[in-house]
């Protein structure tokens, strides 16, 4: 019997649960200040999260997917991406979207059931949130194909949940990325749960990173609660992609500290002990401890920043709530580049019905 293939998956971790450094810092320019910036964005993400949930609970926002517990992953991606790279997110990448330039009120607008939340010019070429699981992974490969065809030095970055790795789209995406050596980085936010389905039911493999082997691409695990480790693996993977050295799959181990969405009640299926244990590993406190111990952050800064983000988020919420709905014609006006003749009549009815006295006047 000949051995025709050998593969290994490694896990990268720099910080222990208490935020103590386990290994020398990776060689990344200006890492300390980047980590501070990351931390600030993580705190912002938390504040946004609570506000969004509060808005939802009071009927002022639709179903919302909290990103509690995934902050380190998102902000590290946000930090490592260049403006010209393209983000192809799933539906749980708020922190990253904010770092890419999306104003907070616009982000809330999306979750408030308004398409304009995906229209802001600051989003550049980034894709909007993607609801059908795993489909974004293929769009990322399409973006990467365009980048490769044009010979540009930028890359596509896409995020997916642990559940999403079971869907054909994701595996087809890995496969074509490997076959064509596309400039794309796949990040799995393995938060251990896909709604009520635990990681072990999704897949019989020891790691999700090893799905990379079947596609002939790099695969690795990283502690998703550890911003330093995330920086190290992401910086490398994105740079490789930009330089034409091929795609990577990064499995970031995290934990979904919230319900799946505001429509979910995780106590139905999830053990409270597990959740408590996960809070011990959570990313925000961990990075704060590290920054404190390195003298990069202190109580005073913490207090100021907490106040600042609360203010920012409150202002954004107010701004969001003040945005009037789109006119009813907007249902028609972005469907095709030009309104087809056949829709003109329907568009008129819609307008008439929305007027006072009409069947759809509100």
């Amino acid at each position: 019997m000949d051995t025709v293939f050998k593969g290994e998956i490694h896990l990268t971790r720099y910080l222990d649960q208490q935020g103590k450094l386990l290994a020398p810092l990776p060689d990344i320019p200006e890492l300390p200040s980047r980590l501070v910036s990351c931390y600030r964005n993580m705190v912002l993400a938390r504040a946004l999260d609570s506000k969004a949930i509060a808005l939802q609970r009071t009927g002022q926002l639709g179903t919302f997917a909290s990103m509690l517990g995934a902050e380190a992953i998102d902000v590290s991606i946000g930090q490592c991406m260049k403006p010209e790279d393209v983000l192809i997110p799933y539906y749980r990448n708020h922190a990253c979207q904010l770092m890419r330039g999306l104003p907070i009120d616009q982000l809330l607008l999306y979750w408030g059931g308004d398409e304009r939340g995906s229209a802001h010019p600051a989003m550049g070429q980034d894709f909007p949130n993607c609801v059908p699981i795993a489909t974004q992974a293929l769009h990322a490969c399409g973006v990467a194909t365009a980048i490769k065809i044009r010979g540009e030095k930028r890359c596509a970055v896409t995020v997916i949940g642990d559940g999403g790795t079971s869907k054909g789209d994701f595996m087809e995406a890995l496969n074509v990325a490997g076959a064509w050596q596309l400039p794309v980085v796949f990040v799995v936010n393995n938060n251990q749960w896909a709604i009520s389905v635990p990681r072990v039911i999704q897949c019989g493999a020891q790691t999700l990173a090893q799905k990379a082997f079947g596609a002939g691409i790099r695969g690795e695990q990283v502690d998703g609660n550890d911003a330093i480790a995330l920086h190290q693996v992401l910086e490398l993977a994105l740079e490789r992609a930009r330089e034409g050295k091929g795609p990577s799959l990064i499995e970031a181990i995290s934990y979904r500290l919230a319900d799946h969405t505001t429509a979910d009640d995780a106590t139905r299926y999830r053990d409270n002990e597990e959740l408590k244990a996960a809070w011990e590993r959570e990313p925000v406190k961990r990075l704060r401890s590290y920054l404190h111990s390195e003298g990069l952050w202190d109580e005073e800064q913490e207090k100021c920043w907490q106040e600042e983000v609360n203010r920012m988020v409150q202002e954004a919420a107010d701004a969001y709530l003040a945005i009037p709905p789109q006119p009813v014609e907007s249902i028609f006006d972005h469907l095709y580049a030009e309104l087809p003749e056949r829709l003109r009549e329907q568009r008129e009815w819609a307008t008439v019905k929305a007027m006072p006295g009409g069947s759809h006047h509100e």
Partner: protein, 327 residues
């Protein structure tokens, strides 16, 4: 005696009943086990029947459909849940290409008695892809049955029938009315027929044809029109493939006027087939064009404008008036 229950409870009741009566009935889908389904349609069934009868699957709709085909061909009654109809597209190669064909392809040697359940339709202010009505895509498929209940009792009886049925059935549950009202449903294991429409209200002036959540709007309209002295016959199509045209034709022959009401975009929806068939067979009896009250030919807007998209009883009343005033 029978309790008053909601439609989603009726679905749960029917599933439990079918599972007790026939151990070949096996459920599969995302989050249907411990969690009892995101709408709680399968609640308690895993606890009651065990994890060999209620399978929490990995997140992959193609896989769910493909597995159901294989299980059904082995003689199990696979009842698969697609969490929302918006995520049903990955199943189509298996449902259209295999489930609906296995009997025909093997001249009856193998068959595929699966049921694919999915909540569908708008009206609950859900995120994108959670509110569409794409039943027309399946109603066009030979070999498949497409069934949509519009009340708790019909959900119970039709779902039992779907599970009993030796053919593959797509069973769409209008989630807007999952909990909208309660109705006494006797857990008697009696299926309803899959080959007839249900005439919910008799009338002489005009025939209103609808299905799913739009039945409520249609019945409301009929009520209000009755106050004005307009007598509406209301038909719940219930089985959208194959269609029971006879019942509809008989009604339209009687009333001479017809309004069809559905949520799906108007163009190319099941309403078109009903209108075309009724005109084809009953042109001479028609005293006015058959009107269709339907969703616009647009993408379902995000929820803030959702109500503008959804037809309502006022729209039905308008259409009835116009139809009555015709010529």
């Amino acid at each position: 005696m029978s309790n008053a229950i909601t439609m989603v409870e009726a679905v749960n009741l029917a599933l439990g009943r079918a599972m007790s009566q026939d151990e070949k009935v096996v459920l599969l889908g995302e989050d249907i086990g411990t969690n009892g389904g995101v709408f709680r349609a399968t609640v308690d069934l895993k606890a009651k029947f065990g994890n060999k009868r209620v399978l929490d699957t990995p997140l992959a709709e193609t896989m769910i459909a493909g597995l159901a085909v294989g299980m059904a061909a082995q003689g199990l009654k696979a009842v698969a849940e697609i969490q929302f109809m918006g995520f049903i597209f990955p199943t189509m190669e298996h449902i259209v290409g295999h489930a609906a064909r296995l009997r025909n392809r093997t001249r009856g040697r193998l068959s595929c008695p699966l049921v694919l359940r999915a909540p569908y339709g708008g009206g609950i202010h859900a995120p994108e892809h959670h509110s569409e009505s794409t039943e027309a895509l399946f109603a066009h498929i030979p070999g498949l049955r497409v069934v949509i209940p519009s009340s708790p009792a019909r959900a119970y009886g039709l779902l039992l029938a779907a599970i009993d049925c030796p053919d593959p059935v797509l069973f769409l549950e209008p989630k807007r009315i999952y909990r909208a009202s309660k109705q006494p449903v006797e857990d008697n294991g009696v299926p309803l027929p899959l080959d007839t429409c249900f005439t919910l209200r008799e009338g002489d002036d005009i025939t209103l044809i609808s299905w799913g959540a739009m039945i409520s709007e249609t019945l409301q309209a009929a009520d209000r029109l009755a106050d004005e002295g307009v007598s509406c016959e209301v038909i719940d199509v219930a089985t959208l493939n194959p269609l029971d045209l006879d019942t509809m034709l008989a009604s339209v022959t009687k009333t001479g006027r017809c309004v069809i009401v559905h949520e799906a975009p108007k163009s190319g929806a099941v309403g078109a087939e009903i209108a075309a068939s009724l005109s084809e067979r009953g042109l001479l009896e028609l005293r006015a064009p058959i009107a269709r009250v339907a969703g616009y030919d647009t993408v379902m807007p995000y929820y803030r404008l959702e109500n503008h998209y959804m037809p309502n009883s006022a729209d039905v009343i308008d259409a009835v008036r116009q139809t009555l005033e015709f010529a």
